[in-house]
Symmetry: D2
Subunit: 117 residues, 4 copies
């Protein structure tokens, strides 16, 4: 069993021990995910682009960022579990779509590429 499978097993146990499945319908889980993404956003809202890498290495801020990344990731895994989606396969499939949608020779080095959908 690889690391991600172990994490998923522990996550299922965490939710079951607390009897929280009843609150974890897919609608509520997207709200959890988006609110956690909002907290991650808050860590960078006053940081300039050219200082964002350095800010990510400041000790106290980094701890908060990792904590929010953990929350976002957990929310995403809970949603995948609930709707029966394999998280890595789902990302892999989307990456393939993006490879076709944004051919390297057309979008190379352009920020005004077509909006990632």
């Amino acid at each position: 069993m690889d690391e991600l499978q172990q994490l998923l097993a522990r996550l299922r146990q965490f939710v079951a021990e607390r009897d929280w499945q009843q609150f974890h319908d897919p609608k509520n889980l997207t709200m959890l995910l988006a609110s956690e993404a909002g907290e991650l956003l808050a860590e960078y809202r006053w940081v300039r682009n050219d200082q964002a890498d350095a800010a990510s290495r400041e000790e106290a801020r980094r701890a908060r960022i990792l904590s929010e990344i953990g929350d976002v990731g957990i929310a995403l895994l809970l949603l995948c579990e609930r709707i029966g989606a394999d998280p890595v396969a789902t990302m892999h499939a989307k990456l393939e779509v993006n490879r076709t949608r944004y051919p390297a020779e057309m979008v190379r080095g352009k920020s005004e590429r077509p909006v990632l959908k």
Copy 2:
């Protein structure tokens, strides 16, 4: 090399071939993540809680949901890559924090549990 490691390798190649690292500072990636989380939210905004599981199985909607889950997951992995965080270890660490913060016997079956932070 496990599946997630393969995905990360392909993702790095995808970004490098397009010379997009220049746009992918951590600030911009949190904006990407939150905007994709918003698109996922949009799939459920008019769906009632008690219909959210069924809605997640409708063919056309499911395809859109999986596409958005893929985008959110990719954005999260790109951010982890950029700041040098291991995604699974980061989630695992946060799950441990949550296990301590929300003892099963205190929060079992309660929706009004302390807000997940």
Copy 3:
């Protein structure tokens, strides 16, 4: 001067007294707005649809909801100020677009109406 104009004047003074214009470029303000929207979302994430009106009347929760609505509104006004947009005229213009885009006779009573854009 109407109430909204008074609020805008006080808001400009609030920002100027703190010398915060330097942080309030439009990019950062959209991050502020989205992170505050995430906090508002958090107030309802475990509340079922059919209990959401009642939950909005609970005293402590209502205070938090109003506080978050205030933050979202302030962020939106700051953004309008920064880019020189009239908030009410901008909403009015979008409502006219929506009136045309969603003719009453086509969308009446349907949740599966075309996604509000």
Copy 4:
């Protein structure tokens, strides 16, 4: 009747004509708001801070930004209507809280001010 009151009246009529009150409980409206905030975020995610003001003046982008600001504002007004909150009074009250919480002499010119809550 001032401009904002006129807008609110038109908005009530827009919703009533479409029989959409049934979908507009406060939970769903926070999801609408956050998803529209995500679309606004998307307009700036690849724009550098020091180019964000100029980008806001580009004709095609400006039209999209105003469209998204309109959507966010409409969602906020719909939520205020639904829960019986006066939007301008709510923002005014929060501004007063912020004036006390962030005394000008303590936070002047600092981006690392206490996080706006």
